[in-house]
């Protein structure tokens, strides 16, 4: 019988498991953590050591406006998603059989459609001679085509379209777990349906709301394709600015400082997200 050298030490099942993490963690250390660290450092040293980049960002100017615009847009998109997704999730959580399948398909199919292509579709809708203008002209609501692009309407519509599934799915997952008998019990105890909803269902769905809100807000902060195609210079968001600074102006120091700022904000929300999903990272996104 094979014995370990140290016979007194009890055999443990988890002895080998830590080693399984070696490869993924080394990989992430080199290709994820190390690049992030370089971004943060570069923000302070390129082109010169110091806080120059941050002074440019937070000094009054266009960069700060982009950051505020990013946060504002992300917040607005999150709020719209929540308001729109909640009733849909409510209906879906009670749907059964074929209806549930159809609803799930209609939510998952866009999720599998390329983001670039979906933004392209919105360009077709919102452009000068696009679907929306045709409709408005046809209905006689306007006399000349409205100029939607570039602008904030397209950005919001496009971003909400992309983020909506990420709000609906955690909400549905949460709502399906809510015991309907609780609602009925509340109604029997004399609460009218509205009160029963407000005092029983809504608080119980809070974990789903938290998960969805954190997820959507965090992802919205980093949006690139939609604002780049539909927003233009008037409605610029952080990722677009960073890409432009690095790729077009070769201003890597400033890009890194902007990216670090974005990183800090997203990380804070990520930590919140981990808390509300009970540390089980990503469970709410399981498709």
């Amino acid at each position: 019988m094979a014995r370990s050298v140290d016979a007194a030490r009890p055999w443990t099942i988890s002895r080998g498991h830590a080693w399984l993490l070696a490869a993924p963690l080394v990989f992430l250390a080199i290709f994820f953590l190390w690049p992030l660290a370089r971004v943060v450092v570069r923000g302070f040293v390129d082109p010169a050591l110091g806080l120059g980049n941050y002074a440019r960002i937070f000094g009054d100017g266009p960069y700060l406006r982009v950051i505020w615009n990013t946060i504002e847009t992300a917040a607005a998109v999150t709020a719209i998603c929540l308001v729109v997704a909640y009733p849909v999730a409510y209906v879906m959580a009670r749907a059964r059989g074929a209806w549930l399948q159809i609803m799930a398909a209609l939510i998952v199919i866009p999720l599998w459609t390329s983001v670039v292509i979906r933004s392209y579709a919105w360009m077709v809708v919102f452009q000068r001679r696009g679907v929306l203008n045709d409709l408005l002209l046809g209905l006689g609501l306007v006399d000349t085509p409205v100029r939607f692009l570039p602008g904030s309407i397209g950005v919001h519509v496009g971003m909400v379209h992309i983020m909506l599934p990420f709000m609906i799915l955690p909400l549905v997952a949460n709502m399906r777990g809510i015991d309907q008998t609780l609602l009925r019990a509340a109604e029997i105890l004399g609460a009218n349906p509205f009160n029963a909803f407000l005092r029983v269902f809504l608080p119980l769905s809070l974990p789903g709301i938290n998960a969805g809100v954190a997820l959507v807000f965090m992802t919205s902060l980093g949006f690139f394709i939609t604002p780049a195609l539909l927003g233009g210079p008037q409605h610029m968001m952080a990722a677009v600015l960073i890409e432009q600074q690095a790729n077009v102006y070769l201003n890597w120091g400033l890009a890194s400082a902007l990216a670090s700022t974005l990183l800090v904000v997203t990380l804070a929300i990520y930590l919140f997200y981990l808390r509300v999903t009970g540390g089980a990272a990503g469970t709410a996104i399981g498709r």
């Binding site: 993490l21 993924p24 599998w112 390329s114």
Partner: protein, 269 residues
């Protein structure tokens, strides 16, 4: 209750509207690709397949599609290996820092890709990998691995550790336990995770924008470049093909998952 009925109809109507909004872009892109006009009017005044012909005539498209596969397939494989390893360690190893480890593994999926892109660019430059296939594969794996991790974690969570302990008492060592018990149980999760990882790579733009060169240009990058230059229905034709392919992938993933569920899995094993 009449009020409840009206509220219900309103709710369902609203949900239908929202779902219509979600599917709308598809209903614009697909007809547009069969337009006979060279501007983007909708609905198209007439039908033709000229944009598909135009696409086929431009060698850049098939080249980009091939590149996307050459990047997507290795990304999926690497993601499956690394993501499964991480999931096994986190779900089955009794590590005190399992939550921290999974937070690190999942983070790349949720952080803005632009941060990773400008971080990876100089790293790849230093490693001499820039603009090669390997650099994009590695970068895509960083953001695609979390999907495998999540699906495999879910598979591992769907049955109890007792099954593996049972195998061990039967005399199966760690490797035999994995091969005969764990792997058959999580195979579906690994496959679905792999499909998701491929889909992520296939749709990824930001990292490709920084890390690919003319020889490794992917489909999203080519579409992106074209979008910034001229809006022709060629893109709609490409988009329609990509959409059809995505549906195929989605169908494959759904079928895999359905088969996984049909498997006799003990609820509380």
């Amino acid at each position: 209750m009449a009020g409840g009925g009206i509220l219900r109809i309103m709710l369902v109507g609203f949900a239908a509207l929202v779902l219509g909004y979600l599917i709308l872009p598809t209903f614009i892109v697909v007809p547009l690709s069969f337009s006979n006009q060279n501007y983007l009017s909708f609905p198209p005044p007439g039908w033709s397949t000229r944009w598909y012909e135009a696409m086929a005539g431009d060698l850049a498209w098939p080249q980009a599609a091939v590149n996307s596969f050459l990047i997507g397939v290795p990304t999926a494989l690497l993601s499956v290996v690394l993501g499964t390893l991480a999931a096994l360690a986190v779900k089955r190893g009794r590590l005190g820092w399992a939550a921290a480890a999974s937070a690190v593994v999942v983070a790349p999926m949720l952080l803005p890709h632009v941060i990773m892109a400008i971080g990876l660019y100089p790293v790849m430059l230093d490693l001499g990998m820039l603009r090669g296939f390997l650099s994009v594969v590695v970068a895509h794996t960083v953001v695609a691995m979390p999907l495998v991790f999540i699906t495999v974690c879910a598979s591992l969570g769907s049955y109890g550790e007792a099954l593996e302990l049972a195998a061990m008492t039967c005399g199966a060592g760690p490797w035999a336990t994995f091969r005969h018990v764990t792997f058959p149980m999580i195979r579906t999760g690994m496959l679905v995770g792999g499909v998701l990882a491929f889909a992520t790579s296939f749709d990824e733009l930001m990292l490709s924008l920084f890390l690919t060169g003319p020889g490794t240009r992917t489909l999203p990058r080519l579409i992106w470049e074209q979008l910034n230059m001229f809006l022709t229905p060629t893109i709609a034709a490409v988009a329609t093909l990509i959409f059809a392919f995505s549906l195929l992938l989605l169908g494959a993933a759904a079928a895999l998952q359905a088969r996984g569920r049909a498997q006799p899995v003990l609820r509380h094993g």
